[in-house]
């Protein structure tokens, strides 16, 4: 495979770090300039990332080594199809979220907005670093940057509840990080290297039981961020964060980074062959299935809209992991593609929840009766996103679910097909009441007549994300070749054609 040496990955990373610094020094007094920095950084970041797509889908990798840290390991960025896939998603949705969060934070007249935008930019820095990391060590560095920069965002409201949420978040994620740290040490002790290799590099090292143990600590470590059950508890609690945070970080950057890391470990450290030999794929698939079913059921029980969305997120993250665990071509493609598909749909849903909160100050599902008629664009987008997650064609969710179902057939494990289908039913069960109530039920309390949409800063990103969920469903390769990147990554992992 051809390798290009370029500083583009570092530029893409630096844009948000420099942006964060500019935001910090501009401060509250010149808030328009500060917001300008956010938007500029987001736009630049996306264009740098997007400029790498053409060469990567031709099968090249873009590499950039900064420093040699110790024998066999360097601070190195290597952009392959899988990493670029995640980076494109995160940076594209940052633009939408940047616009949205300006509307949201100003709409609520929130405090400490400078800190908010600073940490936000830094979180994106971390997410891109994870996407581009060429080895486990670099990945871990950015993984921690992401963890730490998200903490002030989770606790942003500074109420006792928010502070508790922040503490819980840190407790879970730092414990997970410690496990990763340990697993990384063992991996380095066994092999003397940490570079990601499509198809894995651990094979032939260590005893079977040690490898099984190592796999468990890896999955538990990264699983905290990917909110696998039973280590998911921080995610619903972290919903006290402002909605843009929940939207971008708890639907895209942070949790997807967790899933991304799990997939990196499964497919690029252990590799399909080793997982087959050790029967680990089945264990992971059952583990993920358990999360899928349970989180779907728990979502039914939530009355707080954001908490319900959080459980739905947990559900979908596990679906992605299931796709990777099945190790069949369609399942891996579907799993990877679902990272983007779910990202677009879930961010729409979170944006909607935030818009309702800002405009109507409502957070519970039981209060949403009749609200659809007041905020038709917002709730209409919600309906699109929700149906997409339930896998309705022609929305983008259908494509990933279709491939996942095909994948479970290819893997000859019917159980997982049923798991996926049940999860779709659960999706319908917990989303459709919201759609129905908001459009067709009469409101209990008197609402002012007429349309009452939130500000354009919020409605525009909502509508755009919803439209994108349709466009990507009709043409999955639209704009940035998401599907092509996903299938390309799959090919290189399974060693077919790539």
């Amino acid at each position: 495979m051809e390798t290009i040496y370029s500083v583009k990955p570092i530029l893409a990373l630096l844009v948000s770090a420099v942006g964060a610094m500019l935001i910090l020094f501009t401060g509250e007094r010149r808030r328009n300039l500060r917001e300008f920095w956010t938007l500029l950084a987001a736009a630049l970041k996306f264009s740098i990332v997007a400029s790498m797509i053409p060469s990567v889908i031709k099968g090249k990798t873009i590499e950039c080594t900064l420093l040699h840290l110790f024998p066999g390991v360097a601070l190195q960025f290597r952009v392959d199809a899988f990493g670029l896939f995640f980076a494109t998603l995160a940076s594209a949705l940052w633009i939408a979220t940047a616009v949205y969060s300006i509307g949201y934070m100003r709409g609520l007249q929130a405090h400490s907005q400078t800190r908010f935008f600073f940490c936000f930019a830094f979180a994106l820095h971390g997410a891109l670093g994870i996407a581009f990391a060429g080895n486990l060590f670099t990945l871990f560095i950015f993984y921690e940057i992401l963890t730490i920069s998200t903490f002030p965002l989770v606790a942003h409201k500074e109420t006792p509840e928010a502070v508790r949420g922040g503490r819980k978040y840190l407790a879970y994620l730092l414990t997970g990080a410690v496990l990763i740290f340990f697993s990384m040490g063992v991996t380095y002790g066994l092999t003397g290297k940490l570079d990601f290799v499509a198809g894995g590099f651990l094979q032939g090292h260590g005893s079977d039981n040690l490898l099984r143990f190592l796999f468990a600590t890896f999955i538990l470590g990264f699983g905290t961020k990917a909110a696998l059950m039973p280590i998911h508890e921080w995610l619903p609690t972290a919903m006290v964060a402002p909605t843009p945070v929940s939207a971008l970080l708890h639907a895209v950057a942070v949790v997807k980074a967790g899933v991304f890391c799990v997939l990196r470990v499964v497919l690029y450290v252990f590799g399909p062959k080793l997982l087959y030999d050790l029967d680990l794929w089945l264990a992971l698939a059952y583990f993920a299935s358990f999360t899928i079913i349970l989180s779907g059921m728990l979502a039914l029980a939530q009355d707080n809209l954001k908490r319900r969305l959080a459980f739905s997120t947990i559900n979908n993250l596990a679906i992605i992991i299931l796709g990777a665990a099945l190790l069949s071509p369609s399942a891996i493609t579907g799993g990877i593609f679902h990272i983007a598909a779910h990202g677009f749909m879930k961010i729409t849903l979170f944006f909607v929840a935030g818009a309702i909160y800002v405009k109507m100050h409502k957070e519970s599902i039981s209060e949403l009766d009749g609200i659809g008629r007041k905020m038709p664009i917002t709730l209409g987008s919600f309906a699109i996103g929700a149906m997409g997650i339930a896998g309705t064609p022609p929305l983008v969710g259908f494509i990933s679910k279709w491939y996942l179902c095909l994948g479970s057939l290819e893997a000859k494990e019917m159980v997982f097909l049923f798991v996926l289908l049940i999860s779709v039913l659960l999706d319908i069960a917990y989303f459709f009441p919201i759609i129905y109530n908001s459009f067709f039920k009469k409101s209990k309390d008197e609402l002012k007549p007429g349309i009452q949409e939130a500000s354009m800063f919020m409605v525009a990103p909502i509508a755009i994300c919803a439209i994108l969920s349709i466009v990507l469903g009709v043409s999955p390769n639209a704009f940035v070749h998401f599907f092509e990147m996903a299938s390309f990554a799959m090919k290189s992992i399974l060693g077919v054609g790539g």
């Binding site: 401060g27 509250e28 007094r29 808030r31 420093l67 040699h68 840290l69 110790f70 360097a74 601070l75 609520l108 007249q109 929130a110 405090h111 400490s112 907005q113 400078t114 871990f140 560095i141 921690e144 940057i145 963890t147 730490i148 903490f151 002030p152 606790a155 409201k157 500074e158 109420t159 006792p160 928010a162 502070v163 922040g166 503490r167 840190l170 730092l174 414990t175 990080a177 410690v178 496990l179 740290f181 340990f182 040490g185 063992v186 380095y188 002790g189």
Partner: protein
């Protein structure tokens, strides 16, 4: 012998200046501070020059008064000393720059004597590192300790008593060390380290040598405050003036750790310390408890400075653990951690100094709103806190990485566990402070006010002379971690004993 004058310059300049500064104080008090900074700058520059020379030309020897070793005193500088020298001299320079305002505020009448003692303390520490003679090391150890007792005693209420306590422990430690030197002299007739390492292997079975080794380890363990011989440290470092704590806390313990490595692995052979007697194993178990004990006791502290003092005890445990593991990765981690921890502790104690300088109490629960007044200081605090916890890319993570690798190599899973658990405990410790300083209860209620009317940051930072060293240290914490690969391949790997 080489012609390089730096090994002696690095000692003589601060030593002579310590006495000159008293005379200068009679003439003009204002000149003392620039004079001290200049003296320490000379030391720092010579240490950097030494490091350059050692990297390019190998080990430096300097024979005092042209007496040939083993009769005369010899200064030997290999990569290990050179590395520790740079740390000690650079950090003491930064602390010296920062100390001015603190000293002038805390005890304006004793400024001249403070500078004198400060220089003597630095001389002692540098001397311990530079010398190649075990008795000369004792002399410098006492210079450093005596200066330390006096410096600590200047502090707040309780300081004289804490200092007295320290003096008793310190003297006992010094006695153990001296006894050990005496025993070695009895059996070998030599005090020169290189000579001793040649003569000792034949005598390893001798009970006298074993006793000397045991006395030696205990003596140094007291000086470096290794649990359970740390008892003097919490009080002494808490009550000492901030300027003193930020000098002695990062450096004294590190220099102690250096002596431990030097004697265990240079004067005695690694094989002796690891295999012939299980000293290394015992040391690592002691370190195991030191880490746990330090972290857990730190959890109970309400005073930030006292909390940091216990963290320091745990950090000493890390270094001792690395030394005790006795393999390549472990010792690399220990040596790296000498640098990292010196940076972190200097930065943290300087921050405590800055906070108290601005009239804040040291009680953690009264830090509310601190980040608005002192944003730069608190940013530095966050960076060093993340480093102590071990979060990349701060430097603390890298030394922890090597220590964990060392423990994995040694198949000591309990040590791996304690390193990881201590990370989590440190996270609790430091995020408790960060939460207080950055989050305000009730901040959300003010949402109703328009943002514009709020004066966000009421700038009330520490003076620049304190702020700049703090920021430099914080920048150091962020950069030396990423540069650790270079540091190890250029310096540390040559500092390891050949058999590793």
């Amino acid at each position: 012998m080489t012609a390089s004058p730096f090994p002696i310059l690095i000692i003589v300049v601060p030593l002579i200046s310590a006495f000159l500064i008293i005379l200068l104080g009679w003439l003009k008090k204002n000149l003392c501070y620039p004079f001290m900074v200049a003296a320490l700058a000379v030391s720092a520059l010579s240490s950097l020059a030494i490091l350059q020379e050692v990297i390019h030309h190998g080990i430096l020897h300097y024979h005092l008064g042209n007496w040939d070793p083993p009769w005369g005193i010899e200064y030997v500088i290999d990569p290990l000393n050179a590395f520790v020298l740079v740390i000690v001299s650079v950090i003491s320079l930064l602390i010296a720059i920062a100390s001015k305002k603190m000293v002038e505020r805390e005890f304006p009448h004793k400024v001249v004597f403070f500078y004198c003692l400060f220089l003597l303390q630095v001389t002692g520490l540098l001397g311990i590192v530079v010398t190649g003679d075990v008795f000369n090391l004792y002399v410098f150890l006492e210079i450093a300790s005596l200066a330390g007792y006096a410096l600590i005693a200047i502090g707040e209420d309780g300081a004289p008593f804490a200092s007295f306590n320290y003096m008793i422990y310190g003297t006992i430690g010094a006695c153990f060390y001296l006894l050990s030197v005496g025993y070695l002299y009895i059996v070998t007739g030599s005090l020169n380290m290189a000579d001793l390492s040649r003569l000792l292997p034949d005598l390893y079975s001798s009970k006298v040598v074993l006793m000397a080794f045991a006395f030696f380890v205990v003596g140094v363990a007291i000086k470096m405050a290794l649990f359970p011989l740390h008892v003097w440290l919490p009080d002494a470092y808490t009550y000492a003036p901030s300027s003193v704590t930020s000098l002695v806390a990062p450096l004294t313990t590190k220099v102690g750790a250096y002596v431990l490595i030097r004697i265990m692995y240079t004067v005695f052979e690694p094989n002796f310390s690891k295999v012939a007697i299980p000293a290394a194993t015992i040391l690592s178990w002691v370190a195991f408890f030191a880490i746990l004990f330090g972290c857990i006791l730190a959890l109970g502290q309400k005073d930030l400075k006292r909390m940091l003092v216990y963290v320091l005890i745990a950090e000493v445990g890390y270094i001792a653990l690395g030394v005790g593991l006795g393999n390549r990765n472990g010792l690399t981690g220990a040596i790296l951690h000498i640098m990292n921890d010196a940076l972190m502790m200097a930065c943290l104690f300087l921050i405590v100094g800055a906070i108290t300088y601005k009239g804040w109490p040291r009680q953690i629960d009264r830090f509310i709103g601190l980040h608005k007044k002192m944003p730069v200081t608190m940013a530095a605090f966050v960076i060093s806190a993340l480093s102590v916890i071990g979060i990349p890319p701060a430097c603390g993570f890298f030394s922890k990485w090597y220590l964990v690798l060392g423990a994995i190599d040694a198949k000591q899973w309990l040590f791996v566990a304690v390193l990881l658990v201590s990370s989590l405990l440190n996270a609790i410790l430091f995020f408790r402070v960060i939460e207080r300083a950055y989050f305000e209860p009730g901040a959300n209620e003010r949402n109703v006010q328009p943002v514009k009317n709020k004066a966000k940051f009421i700038w009330d930072e520490a003076p620049l002379s304190m702020l700049i060293p703090t920021v430099l240290l914080a920048a150091g914490i962020l950069s030396v971690g990423l540069l650790s690969g270079t540091i190890i391949s250029e310096v540390i790997q040559f500092a390891l004993p050949a058999s590793f």
